[in-house]
Amino acid sequence: MSNASLVPIVVPLAAAALAALGRRSRWLQRIVTLAAVTAVLGIGIHLIASTTGGTVLTTVLGGTDARFRIALVADPLSALVVTVTALVALACTVALIARDDDENRLLLPVLLVLLAGSLGTFVTGDLFNMFVFFEVTLIASYVLLVIGGTAAEARAAAVYVVINLAGSLVFLLGVGLLYGAVGSVNLAVLATETARPPVRAVAEAVVVVAFALKAALLPLGGWLRVAYPVTPRAVSALFAGILTTVGVVAMYRVIPLAFGSTGALTAVLVAGTVTATGAALAAAAPAGRWHIVTLVVMAQAGFMVVGVGLGTVDGIAAGVVFVVQDVIAKTAIFLALSATGDADTGGRDLALHRPVLAATIGVTLVSLAGLPPTSGGIGKALLVRAALLAGQPVVAAVLLLASLLVLAAGVRLWHRTSWQAQEPGGEHRAVAPPVRRRIAAAPAVVLALALLVIGLQPAWLDASARSAAQVLIDPEAYTRQVLP
């Protein structure tokens, strides 16, 4: 029994408390936050090292009565996702601090709570525990959404909160029904209990619907399009990178292991392909760059769940690779766009004046569209290959079509970027970069480099993803190591 899976939850929460208590001193907050996120990154790397080859680390809390214990489980999927989430959180925090965006003294503590909640959903082995961590993440995101205090944010937040609250209730409904049908909400126990009375099938369907809402799949994903464009610049990158990933990883963990019914997988596959195409197509419509990039993010969520929807080891492994590199890509594009101006002079102008930033945006857009030599190309290629191997040529064709549409949206976005800000009188003012602004853009550059590195050397990620997929798809391997 290892306590490593407790660290990603306890450290950010403790740091949040410290940062909230010490909010008189901004630098205390910043140091505490950076230290906590770095510590989580470190433990994530340790977890990756400890879970190679399909080892599953379990921590069981709650005493000796087997029914009341809660299992925290670190399997290869958890390790990968914890590490990449900590990485993007570090990037966002550095950018935030460099831009001085943490004037509101509660921003950093609530950000740490968001991190703790999302990491908690990645390491939990119990469905109700997952609900609790979902709620922690969501409540933190509600606060972060309105922290700027503008009316537009309040309006978007109203929609976001209502829809997500309804989604949480649906999730709870499903968990309750599942508990009544099976007698436990522990994922390992659910995996071993293979009897499927009708109540259980209904409960599983309800839970899958709730996950689809969290992951912002069509037709339940409208909230993303409303909320993300008005998210405060300080946290928009964090939202893009982490929030939909939480719902998607929940699907990866729960559906093949505990649900295992082909109906759920087919539904997820269909929803994923529809989302990918629909959102990418819709990205051709809006005029504002934040709206375009929001819809591109929504399309990525669709691609992410196609991996689990295919249901094979190849599919899940491809999906895990895609998820890991996509978190980096989504965060990178939001960070990079935050560093640009909002006039419409176009990418070529940007390339002349801010070449490194333009290259960053270019690489990230190429990765989101799924072209080599970036990691997006690897991810897409693996997904298409898995779809063909699983006997789903239609899905493969739709994936390629959707990638093309995302590329078109990326081109549109490129024309909307600029190094100049639009003044109210219609004139342009240069977004002159003092040293701090360059530091603020640096995390985006680092993330884009990571995309290139992964794209050129994907072997280790592929191997980790494959071992993760083998644990996820084989209840035997999981439960053998989790249940006593």
């Binding site: 709620e135 409540i139 209502v162 309804a166 309750g176």
Partner: protein, 104 residues
Amino acid sequence: MSAAVAIGVLAAAGVYLLFLRGLVRAVIGLVLLQHAVNVLLVSIRTGARDTAPLAPYAAPPADALGQAFALTAIVIGLGTTVFLVALALRHAHHHHDDDVEGEP
């Protein structure tokens, strides 16, 4: 049986209110939905109907886990409802109305 009817009625009323215009009505609808889910959680019986889980046990105690779920859900629901009401209040200050629909 009565629990099932109660859940159904609460859920129906909650969903209806969610579709009306006005954030306050949506909040009330969500509260009713929360009640429905909590009644569901409390009425879970994974064994025979047993006595209340209060020590000392005269007979095998009922399953406390469903009730624990309901407690957690109530508290979480309370937090989010308070937040939503605060949002509605903030919106009402600006617009003298709680209608959040329509283009900004």
